[in-house]
């Protein structure tokens, strides 16, 4: 099983595909779930406090706006944990979007420069392209090592573990 970082970082379709092929999607939703279910924090709606943009300083300097650093406080640990990545270029908003293109630029740069296998693929606009899009992703996922898990059939049923998402 490989931990696969995805772009857009909240794409449910990509996350589902990755799980179906026995790997672990690293998605921002798990990070947010951990935030909003943590006790002792009261900063709704996402429980992101002024401390988070400070944690984001690990990925971006102080002159980078707090919205980027706050997002990177969630996304950065996923990139650190990533063993592979799929980047979908030009996706429509309903495919996934974290809202800030400066964050997008930074996260794509960081995952590309990490040296892990990265599949970069354009979002399909036609049916034929869609088949090709899925095939390429499947091919990429099949090429990733699975030995750590060893029981692929259970992965699709398994709830993603928060502890495995790179924290």
């Amino acid at each position: 099983m490989a931990k696969v970082f995805i772009y857009p970082a909240n794409s449910l379709i990509l996350a589902d595909l990755i799980e179906r092929f026995g790997h672990k999607p690293l998605v921002i939703m798990n990070q947010i779930r951990e935030k909003v279910t943590s006790i002792s924090l009261d900063s709704p709606p996402l429980n992101i406090t002024p401390e988070d943009p400070k944690l984001g300083l690990r990925y971006a300097a102080i002159e980078v706006p707090p919205g980027v650093r706050g997002r990177m406080a969630l996304i950065g640990p996923l990139i650190e944990a990533a063993e592979a990545s799929i980047i979908v270029e030009n996706p429509p908003t309903n495919f996934g979007c974290v809202g800030c293109n400066r964050t997008n630029e930074l996260m794509k740069y960081l995952i590309r420069s990490k040296g892990v296998p990265v599949l970069e693929i354009k979002y399909p606009e036609l049916d034929e392209e869609a088949h090709d899009f899925v095939s390429k992703i499947v091919e990429f996922l099949k090429s990733l090592p699975k030995e750590k898990l060893g029981h692929d059939e259970k992965v699709a049923d398994k709830e993603p573990s928060e502890k495995e998402t790179g924290k």
Binding site: D42, L46, P65, P92, C100
Partner: protein, 415 residues
Amino acid sequence: MSSEELKPVKIALVSCGSEYSGVQPEFESAADKVNAKFVYPEIDIAYMDTISRDFGLEVASGDLRLMMARAKAVVEGTTNVDGVFITTCFRCAEGAIVRNEVRRYIHKNSSVPVISYSFTERTSAGTLLTRLEALTTIVRHKHLLTREIQSGLTAGIDSGSTTTKAVVMKDNEIIGKGWVPTTKVIESAEEAYSLALKEAGVSIEEIQALGTTGYGRFLVGNHFKAQLIQEEITVNSKGAVYLANRQKGSATVIDIGGMDNKAISVEDGIPGMFTMGGICAGASGRFFEMISKRLGVDITDFGAMAVKGMQENVFMNSYCIVFGIQSLVNSLAKGASPEDVAAAACYSVVEQIYEQQLQEVDVKEPLILVGGSSLIEGVPKALTKLLKLNVLVPKNSHLIGAVGAALLASGFVDE
């Protein structure tokens, strides 16, 4: 509390994702204090992919496209709100472009009051309070703001960061004034108020209604049991157009205060767009105090000195008060005349206001300059030169907050 006060004001929060920046609780806290509630205009997610073309501004960030879509929802009436708060991250160019254009778009196409702000993770509820208070006042008390004549015997106290001003007014005339440096907030207010009462020849018991404004408005207002406790944006807009006798039509008010500046676009005496702040004290009245102290002249003589000088002879950029003072020291060391330095200081402050604040409001004539710094003659001169507009400095321009408060408080006399 009136029924108007009890009803929450619905403010559309149009932001680039403030929930990711750690400031959302501060926004909510400031809104709570003025009994306002943030709402998020609903839009169809598919609209996000076409909004750039519809709006005409192509941006890459999804949340900025969401801002445009939400602004359209407000203008088209699919979301019913009382006001709009537009906010993006400080230092984001893409965000700043969208923030300004969305603000202009709403202002041009609807009558919904709008404020905009760029936040950092250190933005506090206190910073936002005055802005949200002004926004909710425009919504709740429009009838109060339409008052053009002071009636009865009323008083106003402006508890500012640097000076405290008080006036007593009777039947539309100022009959007593007090102006003292702010040291302890209540003691300074008592002193200024006593001076105004003494000059007016009336006792505190005779005052029919009192209004307070400025940084110390709550403390002073509660101390004197004021009928009106109101932020400076509303009060100063009203005071400025009243003193300048420009209550009808458009006007732009620039208030250079001791600690911050305000630029307010006013229509029929009611504030529309406004900005508050300044990056550093280098763009406020505090800078004049420091420069005059360094030049060894009294602040009251500083303006006349500046008028005699040539600003072009001295390079000064008071973007930061420390660098501004360095420029001053360097200039004097090179032999610059104190007059040229004083002129450069005036020009530098108005340049900061132009660069940081006037970009965010529509400047419409007349331009009314108020606040203590308006009495420094070099300031209106520099502003006229920079903006190439006639600058109006009304009589008693330094008392604008106190006059505005006394004027608005007279609404309580009738009640």
